[in-house]
């Protein structure tokens, strides 16, 4: 199973995504500073929304919507970075 260490690691990442509803909903450092120093109003709305604010659209239960967003994002990022790294090293492997 040693060669499949990344599969276990991915499951750990998905487990992390599944506890995301427990995250603090307080504003983060930058948002807090922007609120306190009075420039939060400058922030513009996004021109479109996909899974805005890590809440999966159309799911009534907010915790479940957050978990779904987290799971989707975690899988997308794993695939994107793995795929990118695989593509970038393709030529090197062909030369080898």
């Amino acid at each position: 199973m040693k060669s499949k260490w990344w599969l276990i690691s991915l499951l750990v990442c998905l487990a992390v995504a599944c506890i995301s509803p427990l995250a603090s909903s307080s504003p983060d450092g930058l948002e807090r500073v922007a609120e306190d120093r009075g420039f939060i109003g400058l922030a513009g709305e996004a021109p479109y929304q996909v899974i805005a604010d890590y809440v999966f659209p159309g799911v009534a239960n907010e915790a479940l919507a957050t978990i779904l967003a987290g799971v989707v994002g975690t899988l997308v990022l794993f695939g994107a970075a793995y795929g990118l790294a695989w593509l970038l090293t393709l030529r090197k492997r062909q030369l080898a």
Binding site: S9, R32, A80, A81, Y82, G83
Partner: protein
Amino acid sequence: MHIPDGFLNVATVATTAAVSVGGIGGAVRIVGKKLGEKQVPLMGILAAFIFAAQMLNFPVAGGTSGHVIGAALAAILLGPWAAVLIMACVLIAQCLIFQDGGLLALGANIFNMGIVASFSGYYIYRLVTWIAGNTRKSTLVGGFAAAWVSVLLASIFCAVELAVSGSSPLGVVLPAMAGVHALIGIGEGLITTAVLGLVLATRADLLQLQRI
């Protein structure tokens, strides 16, 4: 620390975008040349972990929260150029899919949390392990220091960008950003150290690979 649209002026947007495009271009070239076969899945795992971990905002003082950046961890495990690429993947996905961080501010966010945090974290880690030797303890201490400095420096660059853009005077925004992120950096340090401890216990060989 994801900057939304509206906080930065055109000159800052253009400058940070140009630097980030250049940085990603360099990272693509260097990673393509040097990344080992063993490191390909690690790229995916780190991007997935950093995305998931960034969702876990932890409370810091006075109704404020923070989340890890993760660049220092990626830079320690894979090297700064690979970390830039991982952070770019995470930040682009967060911007395009999750509306976290503005479209125009994407370059600044990649610069602060990708380039600045990765390189500062990497060289702080190298410095500590160079001074204290290549031991388990120095890896953990170096990881904590790297993580803390990376968050602080990223927040300082963020504050300078906000000030240059005229959103808030430097004398106001710089101490405010650095102050709160000095606290958030402790969380980043603890999580980075915990993950490095886990890697040392289970896959210590990953820490012996060439850094890119």
